[in-house]
Symmetry: C2
Subunit: 230 residues, 2 copies
DNA sequence: GTGACTTTGTGCATGCGTTCACATGAACCT
DNA sequence: AGGTTCATGTGAACGCATGCACAAAGTCAC
């Protein structure tokens, strides 16, 4: 069900062009998925289409928004106002999609008081007060990886049950808390993996299936930083 | 196979602590996955463990790095040096993981020449020259969504076959090109979805399964911006 | 050297997501 | 009003990932 937001965004582009109804084929094309998958996804929400015609853009948009829980604005608090935290705070794309940044927190005393994107940076100790003030909200971790687990613990203690983590660290939280991670290094490494196989195909035409060769272990240069097998 | 980078990172933390060997249980714990899954994943690369002992940290680290294609540094070029592009350019976590930002491109003439993270921002027209200079590389799109498709086309035309897209847009590219997307709004919306179901449980104790009720369609306020069903 | 113990590597079953294909049903034209 | 056309909604088959449970294999102690 991670595709609903994509459908919603695609519906938005149709609405901007004043399109009244779309077929599953058109919408699937705009969302980059199979049309059968789109129909099956939408059928889980209910029968919101008209056979022979398609889906009414405005109506389907509302139904998906309601399903996701975007009929209300969700408060977002960002922890760690460094490079990334500032970019996030300045990002206008959140408010237009049902989210509102309500607080910026940082442990660095030098940063407290600084104004970023119209909000004053508050000391990390204010966390529980801020969380209590806004009710159910979403916490964003943009601190170094070494602080991520500690911050996550503090967020949970403050009552936050939804966390978006940008730090390259695995977080341990209670089952009742949802954590989603965004790790750019992982994305780049996956791309590098495919890129390597693509370029390798030009070197060895019989395909990249032989890379398993265990002898490669012996070919590690002594000073490579990893060390070879003893 | 998107988990290999996670294993690699977990292995890094063990190496930092001078741990020589790890069992699949320990490593799986650090990576946040099931130990059977970890062993099966590693078995696809070959038999790099020792029964009764575990995996040698340094050796396994090298094997995974090689599998991913991290024995060489991959050049990265960033298009769109706004809030996000600058944060990415300033991020030190890339170089430590086998990536090197080699060029910053922006269409805004006012930005060209500006120095960000020790690199001069170059005009977008330099793209093909930069790509040709560095060979196989990874393109990062950090422009507004409206420009994303055009930028993607230019990247492909310049020979880039791996793209990381931060803009909330579906990109159409040839099959030979890999695109991975990072969409923060989608992540937040997924969190909101779960958060909604959690909070809804306190309101209606019989569970959130009734939200399908089609009558809800009639309850759209006239001025909600979406419009009700006619 | 032998035995007991530890941990890997994997066969197998289960469940989930994806996709094809078609029947259902609505609208439109004559 | 009847037939035609069109696109939805869904049944069923397929393929893949996950996780259990166990045999193979190697180590360590004595
Ligand atoms: N900058 C990027 O583009 C980028 C890309 C990918 C991942 N990341 C990850 O995002 C995180 C932040 O990156 P960054 O470049 O913004 O780092 P940064 O060093 O610029 O900012 C980190 C901020 O967190 C604050 N902080 C440190 N410990 C804290 C604590 N315990 N509680 C609250 N605040 C604390 C620091 O004061 C600092 O302001 C890192 O984990 C990084 O790996 C960043
Ligand atoms: N800032 C964030 O934290 C954040 C978070 C999530 C997603 N995003 C997405 O990332 C993208 C960039 O966000 P941002 O906040 O940095 O925006 P921004 O407006 O600050 O920066 C965009 C930059 O792209 C440049 N640009 C525009 N058209 C271009 C073109 N055709 N070729 C090359 N460069 C071009 C502009 O000159 C500008 O410098 C957007 O699509 C946004 O939705 C940003």
């Amino acid at each position: 069900m991670a595709r609903l937001p994509v459908y919603l965004r695609a519906l938005g582009t149709f609405a901007d062009r004043n399109v009244a109804t779309v077929s599953s084929e058109e919408l699937a094309g705009a969302a980059g998925v199979n049309s059968a998958k789109l129909r099956k996804d939408l059928s889980y929400l209910g029968s919101y289409g008209t056979r022979g015609v398609g889906y009414e853009v405005a109506y389907l948009r509302y139904q998906i928004s309601r399903q996701i829980g975007l009929t209300q604005d969700w408060p977002v608090l960002i922890v760690g106002i460094g490079n990334l935290g500032q970019a996030l705070a300045n990002y206008g794309g959140f408010v237009s999609r049902g989210f509102r940044v309500v607080a910026l927190l940082d442990a660095d005393p030098a940063r407290a008081g600084e104004v970023v994107a119209g909000l004053a940076v508050r000391p990390f100790a204010d966390l529980s007060a801020v969380a209590a003030e806004h009710g159910p909200c979403i916490g964003v971790i943009a601190t170094p990886a070494s602080a991520a687990q500690q911050v996550a613990g503090a967020l949970v203690a403050a009552g936050v049950r939804s966390i978006l983590n940008f730090a390259p660290a695995v977080l341990a939280v209670p089952d009742s808390v949802d954590v989603r991670k965004v790790d750019l290094s992982i994305e780049l490494q996956i791309l590098a993996y495919h890129e390597q196989r693509k370029t390798a195909r030009f070197v060895a035409l019989d395909g990249p299936d032989d890379v398993r060769d265990p002898r490669f272990g012996a070919e590690v240069p002594a000073g490579a930083g990893f060390g070879g097998r003893p």
